[in-house]
Assembly symmetry: C2
Homo-oligomer: 342 residues x 2
DNA sequence: CTGAAAGCGCTAACAA
DNA sequence: TTGTTAGCGCTTTCAG
């Protein structure tokens, strides 16, 4: 156990009461200038640090925020968490991270855990399996601060930070079309997720703009978002063994993108010669891939920061918050060779 | 603010005293069976959760552990953190992560922050810039629980969890030698780090075994561990523009490995035709690189778990711990094409 | 077997 | 301007 000084130690050493010390430390004005100086100097000298736990107990605030994501070892989320930490740290909050591994049951358990930890607010990106958001609705109705980011709940009116999924998707598919592809498949995450539906809409809209008929059999959902390799393998293999095989695949999720490349590699198909590729991913090494991967990138770090800003503002708001913002940030498309038409 | 039930609510509702309720909840035996049952049932019904903050204040324990790493967005560390979280979570601890970005000043500030947060112990992987470990020595001497992992302090006798860096390195270099290379350069992290020195020793030992003379000019240190791209660029360019250019590079750090490939790609040299490569990295996508990368992989997740186990054991030990363990785990070498002799 | 009361570190209302 | 005191939620002596 590591001892540290308390306000009481200071009071005793200086022959003051604890409240006087407290006031001096907190810069209250109803205090003698020299008393204050004396206290501050002494506190400085012994390197006094207030006990955040005592403060929390007093204020009924834990100064911690809970983060719920599917997986930390995911380019997008690790970057988002970086953004979250950067803001939280500066504002005196610490973050407790929990992972759902795309399971609604774990999601619920994690929320319970975080609440039992008395977090002051929640930063949530839904699991791919979540269909029932009543848990969040309940909390939100009770006035508990929640900000959704990336994978938001469609049916709850609260703060949301998302990327412009429709446009990101539209741009990606349009790029493939402009390269000369018309047989474009779409590999995506669970339809439970709003982002999947938005990206599917973007895909359809781009096809539509160029009068390319939409083929439902070209769309494959992986309900576990690339976590289960077999699922991806099945989906991709269905795609590449079709009689009318697609010439390009547009992939709508970070994890799926790398998983898909693994499957293609295993199948022996060459990218982009046999099949072209473009995918959502925040990988920093997509350029080093064989071939370098054309990607749609989300501003993960900034999204994390933004969501955290909004959450802390909500937590610290004096009056109950009734106006909810939705921030939409732009994606970026990085052209490399995987999307080339040979 | 999100209200939740307290022991007082239960006491009032049941017409008991708070101490009785407390005893019932904690399974104390000096309590009436039916009183106990009544309390437990009621607590269950209202979904009572003890307030961890109050507990912390009482026990003088925060139930949190501080983690100090250079960077979260690093394959090795993100996996290690995963391991850390997995254990901590189950044992009722939460983790506060802080990043040094390889700067000793930030490292010191982070430690101060974590201490002010009253963490119960520290999991530390030193920054590349750290030369002065007196801060840790001081804490350790005071009996504060610290476990170093991966980048350990050579001069402090405390718990340590490392990979077998010497052997990992030796095996990697030996592999290159067996492929037929003799002109093998070594790109590595700051010499401040014990892991760098151990890996350098492994490199030398392998050369020595095959009677290949050691050339100091073949060893390049990047003191910021690949964080500063220019530094890596400089080092790699020096290597590839030497009169007697090396035919292979052995890279001793995760971040440096990818950075180095970026530089080589930019330079136009082909791997492995012009220069072969083998590197320490925990990337999950090294197989997708062009060419697929031969890697030395550390058991990051397990190292994180192990370090956390040891730390929590130390924290919860009744008597002061005076025996310190050093756990050494084995690396794994994964052979792919980047190390081929053409 | 149960209750009253003190105390963990801190702040703030109230007194002086 | 400073001190006294109560209280945040909980555990734990000490009495009863």
């Amino acid at each position: 156990m590591f001892e540290s000084y308390t306000i009481k130690d200071i009071a005793k050493a200086l022959g003051l009461s604890t409240s006087t010390v407290s006031r001096a430390l907190n810069g209250s004005y109803e205090i003698g200038a020299e008393t204050k100086k004396m206290v501050l100097e002494y506190a400085e000298r012994i390197n006094y640090r207030p006990n955040p736990i005592a403060l929390s107990l007093k204020e009924q605030k834990s100064h911690s925020i809970g983060v719920v994501v599917c997986e930390v070892a995911n380019n997008y989320f690790s970057q988002a968490i970086n953004g979250i930490e950067s803001i939280a740290y500066n504002r005196g909050y610490h973050v407790i991270i929990s992972q759902t591994h795309e399971s609604p049951a774990r999601e619920e358990a994690n929320i319970q855990y975080l609440l039992s930890r008395h977090v002051d607010g929640l930063l949530v990106s839904l699991s791919a399996g979540t269909t029932d958001t009543s848990q969040f609705k309940y909390l939100h109705d009770k006035g508990f601060p929640i900000v959704f980011f990336d994978r938001v709940a469609a049916d709850i009116e609260t703060h949301k930070v998302t990327a412009n999924n429709f446009k990101g998707s539209f741009d990606g598919v349009e790029l493939l079309i402009n390269k000369g592809f018309t047989k474009i498949a779409h590999l995506t995450n669970s339809n439970n997720l709003l982002i999947s539906r938005e990206r599917l809409d973007g895909y359809k809209a781009a096809l539509d703009k160029y009068s390319i008929p939409f083929k439902p059999e070209y769309v494959k959902h992986c309900d576990h978002g690339g976590m289960i390799q077999e699922e991806v393998e099945l989906a991709v293999n269905e795609l590449i063994t079709m009689p009318n095989r697609p010439e390009a695949i547009f992939i709508a999720s970070d994890r799926l993108t790398t998983s898909c490349i693994f499957v293609l590699k295993k199948s022996g198909l060459k990218v982009p010669n046999d099949i072209a590729l473009i995918g959502f991913t925040n990988s920093d090494v997509a350029e080093l891939f064989d071939p370098p991967l054309t990607v749609i990138r989300q501003p993960a770090f900034q999204m994390g920061q933004m969501a955290t800003e909004i959450l802390i503002q909500t937590i610290e708001s004096k009056r109950p918050v009734t106006e909810f913002v939705t921030e939409q940030m732009q994606t970026e498309i990085i052209l490399r060779t995987s999307s080339n038409k040979i």
